[in-house]
């Protein structure tokens, strides 16, 4: 047992740190520090910087433009990006659709889409949820009917993150209405500029615009945009969700938020001292910090096990639960730390707390994760 970093890992950390310090545009860093929402161009600018260095998709196989980093190095990379206030790479292309294409897609799909993700030519979004199908995703009713060399898609997807910026969407649609639930679902890649695709914004309770409705009306998509086999979509969808969960724990980002929380608490004056110096509040922060430290080592243990067995385990479910609960606890403390300043709608303190209620709902709600663990890990 040895939890220290090797000299090579420490050198690697220095390299990443220097890279972020030198390359992250100050305007983006400022937004990240202040908790201001990023715009499309901010994301794209940073993705291009990472891509130029070959670091946009560390998890991909080297032959497609990934890295041969160890688990520990990937962990260090995430940490250093967070510490340096760099934006987290958006998952939809790099860590959602790409692993599906790499594992189940055709050679043409790999050749076409992977380079376009690395170059930021394509912005992907995830078309899973529907108004009538959330947790019970397999009940989805969007249809894709064969017509000559095309599928014709009709239906509505909802809660689609950053669809307003996307030009590509991966859609779960029913290709066989007679097959039972999971069986008739296919995984289809859709160009959002195709006639019949409409994107409508949904405002969230923090006043932000990060989710959308995406409507499909007689949208014609070439048959070759099917990934894998027709009716095999549910398998790919679940494969993707397991990858998604690992990312949603947000451990490195939570350490970043914790620093901001401490700053807020140190700026709040109270009775000749600061909130941070009040034992009560400092203790509440410490409690979250301890739990986050525990989660961080838990994630390392899971990653170590994963690299030994070569498959993401069920640990990703409890890491998602704990990670999102911690994110919510930190944003709750931010709102409280702000005191009367949190009432001001120019302050992000309360708004971030409102926004982060999403984390226990998306990527498979925390209740669904507990169901999965009860069934598959505890055998209940």
């Amino acid at each position: 047992m040895d939890l220290s970093f090797s000299p090579e890992d420490l050198r690697f950390r220095e390299e990443i740190r220097a890279f972020v310090a030198a390359e992250l545009p100050p305007a983006i860093k400022h937004k990240m520090q202040a908790g201001i929402e990023l715009e499309r161009d901010d994301y794209v600018a940073w993705q291009k910087i990472l891509s130029a260095r070959g670091w946009l998709a560390p998890n991909w196989p080297v032959e497609y433009g990934g890295t041969d980093w160890t688990i520990v190095q990937k962990h260090i990379f995430d940490e250093e990006l967070a510490v340096g206030f760099a934006p987290r790479s958006l998952p939809f292309g790099v860590s959602m659709v790409a692993p599906v294409i790499i594992n189940f897609g055709s050679e043409e799909q790999k050749q076409r889409y992977l380079p376009r993700i690395l170059s930021s030519e394509d912005w992907w979004c995830q078309g899973y949820s529907e108004p009538g199908s959330g947790s019970d995703l397999a009940s989805l009713s969007t249809r894709a009917e064969r017509d000559g060399d095309s599928y014709v898609i009709n239906g509505a997807k909802t809660w689609i993150t950053l669809a307003q910026y996307a030009n590509m969407i991966f859609v779960l649609a029913r290709t066989d209405p007679t097959a039972k639930k999971q069986k008739g679902i296919s995984f289809i890649l859709v160009d959002m500029t195709t006639p019949g695709v409409t994107v409508r914004p949904i405002e969230t309770i923090d006043g932000g615009h990060e989710i959308n409705e995406v409507i499909f009306e007689n949208v014609r998509v070439p048959l070759e945009n099917l990934v894998g086999t027709e009716g095999g979509g549910w398998t790919y969808a679940k494969f993707l969700l397991e990858h998604e969960r690992n990312g949603t724990a947000g451990v490195a980002g939570s350490f970043q938020m914790l620093d901001r929380l401490k700053e807020i608490a140190s700026e709040q004056r109270y009775n000749g001292s600061t909130l941070m110096q009040s034992g009560d509040f400092a203790k509440r922060i410490a409690e979250v910090e301890v739990r986050l430290t525990a989660l961080s080592f838990t994630q390392m243990r899971a990653l170590a096990a994963e690299s030994a067995t070569k498959s993401p385990g069920l640990e990703s479910s409890y890491i998602k639960i704990t990670g999102t609960e911690i994110q919510q606890a930190i944003t709750e403390l931010m709102m409280e730390a702000g005191g009367y300043e949190s009432f001001d709608d120019r302050s992000r303190n309360a708004l971030l707390y409102f926004n982060f209620r999403k984390t226990s709902i998306y990527a498979g709600s925390n209740e669904i994760q507990r169901n999965i663990l009860a069934k598959r890990m505890l055998g209940l």
Binding site: M1, D2, L3, S4, F5, D9, I71, V72, G279, A282, K283, A286, E287, E289, V290, R291, T293, A294, L295, S296, F297, T298, M300, R301, A304, E315, Y318, I321, T322, E367, R370, N371, L373, A374, K375, M377, L378, G379, L380
Partner: protein, 399 residues
């Protein structure tokens, strides 16, 4: 970064697991707990024969040169079986104090006798006015010729009746709250002027309040440097906390597994109660707490390093104890609740794990104490001195 055990460590684990499986069935444990000593001297001899009593102590002090990971392995297995023998007081607390504070041949002999299984030790540091804070010491040692005369009372000395010798924190200078002026000394249980009130603890172990009235000790009783004992004491206590945390993780994992098995088997309304979603989710939460605790245990354990940075060690250990204190509550309380009435029954095992876990949450500092210590260790600009010698005023301003 490596979370695996070496092959030697794996062998130790197998050997401790085997001992526990053979000798520590629940009924045997309950009978031992009710015996005169509250533990088995035969088992203790077995520990000595198997080499467990010197397992983590340095080779140049007669130990077997292992690391805190070896202690962790032993204590986790002990935690799984609610082992009663005074391993932490004697080996981890007493042994560490002697190994790193010993200054003369007699100390070395004492340590060797402990490793051989012939001598039991205990740490006497807590007082009525100190709660868990080792820097508050009211027990005095007044100069007397070349030695000292000790007066004061120490609380909750684990297995104080069985221990042959106590490691006692005394004040040789400064006021009750000063960090300087604290000295660790050895006092024999049977020395003139030592008296005890012995009692059973709620978790089936033994403890004593020990009073020293005009107890004479020589200059050779001092461990480490006179007046500079706090750094050593903190290191000793942190080693003890790590060991208790390992015991807690063993204990918790049994409660978690037992509860899952129980709710699969127990039927109400014609179905296993484990089919009810509220209970499933509570069972998952127990699992999460055990896993978080295990991760922290590894982090805390490897931070125990006599040459490492003291602040980092304190922060890691206190964070670990705080997490495990909280998790232990969640796991223990849920275990009782999910068992229903049988959880309240003294005859059934789960309640005994719960009781031990509850006391582990308090022993050597509760969650509140360790959260404050975690904060204080993080706020100090660390690195000003390393290892055992530097304690610093880590609790300044937070008490």
């Amino acid at each position: 970064m490596d979370f695996t055990l070496s092959s030697e460590q794996q062998q130790i684990k197998e050997s401790v697991d085997r001992f526990v499986a053979d000798a520590y069935g629940f009924d045997a444990r309950m009978a031992l707990s009710k015996s005169a000593d509250g533990f088995s001297r035969d088992h203790w001899s077995t520990f000595a024969e198997l080499g467990w009593l010197g397992i983590a102590l340095p080779e140049d002090r007669g130990g077997f040169g292992g690391t805190p990971v070896e202690t962790m392995i032993v204590m986790e297995a002990f935690g799984k079986a609610l082992v009663l023998e005074p391993f932490v007081p004697t080996v981890v607390l007493g042994g560490t104090a002697l190994a790193y504070g010993g200054t003369n041949a007699a100390h070395g002999d004492r340590l060797n006798a402990m490793i051989a299984g012939d001598v039991l030790l205990a740490l006497a540091y807590a007082e009525g006015n100190s709660r868990y804070d080792p820097s508050i010491v009211g027990t005095t040692a007044k100069p007397d010729g070349s030695g000292w005369i000790v007066d004061g009372t120490k609380r909750a000395v684990a297995y104080g009746a069985a221990a042959d010798t106590y490691v006692v924190s005394v004040r040789t200078g400064g006021g009750e709250h000063d960090e300087d002026g604290i000295t660790l000394v050895l006092i024999d249980r049977d020395a003139p002027g030592v008296s005890r009130v012995d009692y059973r603890t709620v978790d089936g172990q033994r403890a004593s309040d020990v009073t020293f009235s005009g107890v004479r000790i020589g200059a050779d009783a001092v461990l480490g440097e006179p007046g500079k004992g706090l750094g050593l004491l903190e290191y000793v206590l942190d080693s003890g906390v790590a060991a208790l945390c390992a015991e807690a993780v063993g204990n918790m994992s049994v409660m978690q597994k037992t509860t899952v098995d129980y709710i699969k088997a127990r039927e109400q309304f014609g179905v296993p109660i484990g089919s009810f979603q509220v209970l499933q989710h509570r069972a998952v939460d127990m699992l999460i707490e055990v896993e978080l605790s295990r991760s922290m245990l590894y982090y805390g354990t490897v931070a125990i390093d006599p040459n490492g940075d003291a602040k980092e060690r304190m922060r890691a250990i206190s964070g670990t104890k705080a997490q495990i204190g909280r998790s232990g509550r969640v796991v223990g309380e849920s275990a009782i609740q999910l068992h229903g009435g049988i959880g309240m029954s003294e005859e059934y095992m789960i309640g005994h794990y719960f009781k031990r876990m509850s006391m582990l949450g308090l022993a050597l500092g509760d969650t509140d104490f360790h959260l404050r210590r975690f904060i204080a260790a993080g706020n100090k600009s660390g690195g000003e001195g390393s290892g055992i010698g530097s304690a610093g005023k880590q609790l300044a301003g937070v008490n």
